[in-house]
Amino acid sequence: MLRTIFALAKMHLNEHNIYKSNFYLFSFNRLIEVVVYIFVWQAIYYQTGDAGGFTLSQMITYYILVVSINPIVLWGINEDMGHSIRTGRINKELLNPISYFKYYFGMNLGEIAFAVIVGIAVFVVCAIFWGVTLPVSFLNFIIFLVLILLGIPITFFLQMIAGTVGFYSGSIWGIQILRKAVISIFAGVIAPITLFPAWFQALSNYLPFQELIYTPINIWIGEFDMSQIVFVLIKQVIWIVILYIIAKKFFEHAVKKITINGG
């Protein structure tokens, strides 16, 4: 089973490799995003002597890491799913000897592999231009990686939920713009969560999103209270289970609808 999933991942990555230009364009887009953020915070720092409670180099590192990790969190197989529903290819995919979930999970891994390559390239270029602070300790770096890995099933199940909406509405792009916007707000893509209002921070503490980007980065730059780490890890695992159940049940309901009244 694992080998099938890796085979799917490899094929999806190969699809990206066919278009070398994708890599440059996608990396370039990431860079523009980070440049805007960096210049704005630089301006704030020079005017007020403070960058939202962070040092300027911490803030720059924050945004460089945001745009480097961001593709792992936001990209995925939603477009492919939408295409499969629109063209009726879904019928063929439901006849595969492995489940639709596993099939797309494999493809999603391929997409993430591509996102990691883009992320590393962007990180290296940014590090050369602006300099980044390295992780405060090796342990912190490991925990950083663990949280990123735990994020993979979470974002995958979110995509499956968004994609399943497409079974009902026939179109997937509206809902997935929404998915990306929600993650961007709650994961700390726009700005560190500490800069949001208190009620938002309280809410965000119980949602799985800030551990996708904000918390790992804080661990990297050493702004995270390590006594919280157990809570965070347990929380993520619970969310993985919850989202898995929702995604699975929702998907099964959708498939039942298709198999009862035609695709």
Partner: protein, 332 residues
């Protein structure tokens, strides 16, 4: 034991009734109106391993609905389906392992990648042993002439090339049963023949059960040995192809080239068991039942009215028979 058992199979769809205009659109949102449509009305059949079955009928007769139920893509409203010992809509993935399917021109091949990569994925997904994979690939490549295509990206293939690859992909994992829903649609004669030959070869060698729906009756004529004929959701014939022809195809077509004809023959003479289909100055097309009359009797009568110079005769083909059946000439 039959590999496919179907008993009292019924499928009823609920169809949303569209209401016109903006007001109708909102009405649809609030209180949608449905009407019911029964696509398959309690059909029964058994298919044995290794059979080549032509599943035919007009558009909307319920062919695709049946195929989708057999593959587990649709849940029956009532009735029983057992495929290879499994109820497909209950254990879809289990069922998937031993079947293959083609739906028209929709392809399972990966658009941007070379064909061979899709084949490798299939090998991986179905856990096909290396030796078996290589043996099949070699054989399929030879019959379907895929040599040049395997390293091409799917998007660069023509329709005929794509369908040949698709057929190969469908049989690659040695499925016990293959459902082919319009596999030859839009293809030219050579590709069609190529695909038919392939299906027959594989069936002979591996006893693969094939269920074929198609609009091209040449496919059936060439490939199948059994016919299931569906009309408005009901089976009106199920049995041997040759027997079908014998029962319903008792008539023969003949075209007579004539000269010195006086007026319209159909007005002046009556022929027992023979019908004049078309008539011009130089030719007469007739259709006759060879149990009621013979060509000699007909010629005897006709030659009183003109000079017969030449005759072309052919037996009724499936297409002629079906045309008759749909016109209501035969009650089954």
């Amino acid at each position: 034991m039959a590999i496919i058992e179907v008993e009292n199979l019924v499928k009823t769809y609920k169809i949303l009734q569209k209401q016109d205009g903006l007001i109708g659109y909102f009405k649809n949102l609030v209180r949608p109106k449905y009407k019911e449509l029964t696509a398959v009305k309690g059909i029964n059949f058994n298919i044995e391993e290794g059979e080549l079955v032509g599943y035919i009928g007009e558009n909307g007769a319920g062919k695709s609905t049946t195929i989708k139920m057999l593959t587990g893509l649709l849940t029956p409203t009532s009735g029983k389906i057992v495929v290879n010992g499994i109820v497909p809509y209950e254990k879809r993935i289990e069922n998937n392992k031993s079947i293959g399917a083609v739906f028209g021109q929709k392809t399972q091949l990966w658009w941007d990648l070379p064909v061979i990569e899709s084949f490798r994925l299939i090998k991986q997904m179905y856990k096909l042993p290396d030796g078996e994979y290589r043996k099949n690939l070699k054989k399929f490549t030879q019959i379907l002439e895929l040599e040049e295509l395997l390293d091409k990206q799917v998007k660069n293939l023509s329709l005929g090339q794509k369908m040949r690859c698709e057929i190969a992909a469908t049989f690659l994992h040695n499925p016990k049963i293959v459902y082919l829903d319009e596999p030859t649609i839009g293809l030219d004669v050579f590709v069609k023949e190529n695909i038919r030959k392939f299906i027959k070869d594989i069936n002979r060698e591996k006893k693969t059960t094939v269920i074929l729906t198609t609009h091209d009756l040449k496919d059936i004529e060439d490939v199948c040995n059994r016919i299931i004929l569906l009309d408005q959701g009901e089976i009106i014939y199920d049995g041997d192809k040759q027997k079908f022809k014998d029962i319903y195809g008792k008539y023969v077509f003949a075209e007579l080239v004539v000269s010195n004809k006086n007026g319209k023959l159909s007005d002046t003479i009556t022929l027992n068991g023979c019908e004049i289909v078309e008539e011009t100055e130089k030719s007469i097309k007739i259709k006759f039942n060879h149990e009621e009359t013979t060509i000699m009797q007909i010629l005897n009568t006709i030659s009183n009215h003109c000079v017969v110079e030449d005759i072309h005769m052919r037996e009724a083909e499936l297409e002629d028979i079906l045309k008759e059946i749909y016109k209501g000439a035969h009650k089954c």
